[in-house]
């Protein structure tokens, strides 16, 4: 069956093999290589396995136990973050770290060691895990944690699914007084202002994130948002209302003109929201989840997401250079997200975050024009000793990957020889 990823760049034939709750027999060597697959929400080829199988983990979607005193949740790896949020937010607990979509499995969150708007206070997802159980394709079961089988834990968190199938895990949820956040929206007009705001907010604000106008204009204005959990609930819980992008338009709806118009309108609409407001966690964390299949907007050729992080010292000029390069290329981006990462160390050998600034951008796939722009951006990232996020990547060169992830060699000792992915084939040669 043809399977593609969120970026819709290409679709290839894969056989789906559901992961069984029971202990799996050893996969014989004659079997094709497999890859744990959850919701397929990664943008590039980290969740695909051309010429191989996909082990479908959504069938493992049960909770196992929850301790209402400590917040410890034990569950299977195919559980959706949405189900955790919906079930436990009613009881005063939420995920300690969440990405921008709740339609991902918890196994996927571990494999990509995801981060959220609270990275500066909470670090990556893996910091909140108590233990994991992985099943290797030779049938071996390994339980690992930050104190037991540490090396396996470090390889598996952010390990892109390549060390085995995570079957069960334990995570500590975060206690909250309400499902609401006190949010403040501030306009900034250049990068320095963003950095000042971000630094000033780190101590007293749990969540910070910014949207930057990454259109064709030279202005680097943007909207900065910071939030803390509210002590009291807001008035009206937003209804679960979804808009659907019903079809794939013949050409990308994201182009030079629409990006400029969108960014202008978005900026103006956000400007109206300046000040302090109460937001439901669903609205604050997952604004895009309300538009089902928004990725179809980019037309039949799909789109690339480019997410980089550069260390603090080199951060400011590198981000500046990236933004200049993009505006010079005329290929603006809709959803340009800017955030500073804190100094909370990640457990994973291949975890993406590092202390510094991260910028996420998306570009319609305009073929070689887009790829050339990426090569110029790569040079800036490499120069600044930064790296790209594999969960979003579909095209980075192997050398940039190796430079960005110095612990790659160490990681390779823990890979499961029965597993491969599009990304591993491309960047690790198997």
């Amino acid at each position: 069956m043809k399977v593609g990823s969120w970026g819709r760049l290409n679709y290839e034939d894969h056989a789906f093999v559901p992961v069984s709750r029971d202990h799996a027999p050893e996969r014989k060597e004659t079997h094709k290589k497999t890859l744990p697959y959850g919701m397929g929400r990664s943008y590039g080829d980290v969740c695909l396995n051309p010429l191989g199988d996909l082990s479908f983990t959504r069938s493992l979607d049960r909770f196992i136990k929850f301790n209402p005193h400590t917040g410890e949740l034990v569950c299977e790896a195919g559980v959706l973050l949405r189900d955790i949020q919906l079930t436990f937010s009613k009881k005063g607990w939420i995920l300690p770290v969440t990405p921008g979509s709740q339609y991902v499995t918890i196994g996927g969150a571990i494999a990509n060691d995801i981060h959220g708007k609270n990275h500066h206070t909470a670090g990556c997802f893996s910091r909140h895990l108590n233990w994991l159980e992985i099943e290797r394709t030779d049938g071996q079961l390994i339980t690992c944690s930050a104190t037991k089988n540490i090396a396996w834990f470090a390889a598996t968190c952010g390990g892109l699914g390549l060390t085995g199938v995570v079957k069960k895990l334990s995570i500590t949820l975060k206690p909250v007084c309400s499902n609401w956040l006190d949010t403040e929206t501030i306009v900034f007009s250049n990068l320095d202002e963003f950095i000042r705001l971000s630094t000033a907010s780190e101590a007293n604000w749990e969540y910070t994130v910014a949207w930057i106008d990454c259109g064709v204009s030279k202005k680097k204005r943007g909207i900065f948002m910071r939030a803390n959990h509210s002590l009291e609930a807001g008035e009206v819980t937003p209804r679960d209302r979804k808009i659907k992008m019903p079809f794939v338009p013949p050409v990308s709806m994201v182009n030079r003109i629409s990006v400029a118009a969108f960014n202008y309108l978005y900026f103006c609409s956000q400007k109206l929201k300046i000040g302090i407001k109460k937001n439901h966690y669903q609205t604050f964390f997952y604004p895009l989840d309300n538009i089902t299949h928004w990725n179809r907007m980019y037309g039949p050729h799909g789109f690339y997401q480019y997410q980089l992080v550069v260390p603090s010292d080199a951060g400011r000029p590198a981000i500046d250079a990236v933004l200049n390069e993009i505006s010079a290329s005329g290929q603006g981006s809709f959803l340009s997200v800017l955030k500073t990462f804190g100094n909370k160390a990640s457990a994973g050998l291949l975890s993406f975050p590092m202390e510094g600034i991260t910028l996420a951008l998306d570009f319609p796939n305009n073929g070689s024009e887009t790829l050339q722009l990426f090569r110029r951006l790569d040079a800036i990232v490499r120069e600044a000793r930064g790296r790209l996020y594999p969960a979003k990547d579909a095209r980075m060169p192997a050398s940039l990957f190796a430079d960005g992830y110095p612990q790659l060699e160490e990681f390779l000792a823990y890979r499961d020889p029965g597993i491969s992915s599009g990304l591993s084939q491309r960047l690790m040669g198997w």
């Binding site: 909770f63 196992i64 949740l73």
Partner: protein
């Protein structure tokens, strides 16, 4: 607390229906299953979702005719039941059925006779208590026999006819009988089928069942499009139907 019973407690469709039933407030639930250990895992998940709910597992032999009666007796010792969902089944490989009549008999039993026996045992109790809702999961496969799965289809056809009879019997009473016909759904039961891309998502199917039962509907096709598709399939003349490779 509203009292629910699921027969086939490890059925993925039923599991998702229960998740919806207990999402708002606690329920009193009994899972009847062939394998206690597997049902316990379902129960543990449901208990995490709804700590207020009372959840009990009963293990039963679905192949023994007396078993249904005994289990239903046991359940009714704790009082009347508000809602029963009969959900067990298995999807046999048509071709291995052709060569093994013992497994054919077993498949006919587990998909047709056993659910009907459970339904009959519950119907007797419901008419005694003069209340209850009985949801029976049949299948679109029971609407017309076709070469690729007529053993399963025959068993589900039996269940469809049986349910219609039960609806006739309880017409005008406070007992509601709902015939549920899911189309192909992504569950462990269909996991061996290579191309599952056109199959319905189990959450969508469960939502359709829960909504339909709440509206006391007598027949639910889930997803809804199957009502039209099966209408056409049922009415195709056999000289056309028999040329189709389905």
């Amino acid at each position: 607390m509203k009292r629910y019973v699921i027969v086939g407690g490890t059925s993925t469709i039923a599991e998702h229906c229960v998740r919806l039933w207990l999402a708002e407030k606690g329920i009193d639930l009994t899972l009847v299953a062939r394998d206690r250990e597997r049902a316990n895992s379902v129960a543990a998940d449901l208990k995490v979702r709804s700590p207020d709910s009372l959840i009990k597992v009963i293990e039963g032999d679905f192949l023994a005719p007396k078993s249904a009666e005994k289990i239903v007796q046991e359940i009714y010792q704790d009082g009347a039941v508000d809602c029963v969902l009969i959900a067990h089944g298995s999807l046999p490989d048509q071709y291995s059925c052709a060569s093994n009549l013992t497994s054919t008999a077993e498949e006919l039993w587990i998909n047709g006779i056993s659910p009907a026996l459970f339904a009959e045992a519950f119907a007797t109790k419901m008419s005694e208590f003069q209340k209850g809702q009985l949801g029976i999961i049949s299948s679109v496969a029971g609407d017309r026999g076709r070469k690729s799965n007529y053993i399963y289809g025959a068993a589900k056809g039996l269940l469809t006819r049986y349910t219609q009879g039960l609806q006739h019997r309880f017409a005008g009473t406070r007992i509601v009988v709902t015939l549920i016909k899911p189309g192909p759904t992504q569950t462990p039961m269909t996991a061996h089928i290579k191309d599952s891309s056109n199959m319905a998502n189990v959450e969508t199917v469960a939502k359709g069942i829960v909504t339909g039962m709440a509206q006391n509907r007598t027949q639910i096709y889930v997803p809804g499009k199957w009502a039209q598709i099966m209408m056409v399939i049922r009415h195709l003349p056999s000289f056309i139907f028999n040329r189709m490779d389905i």
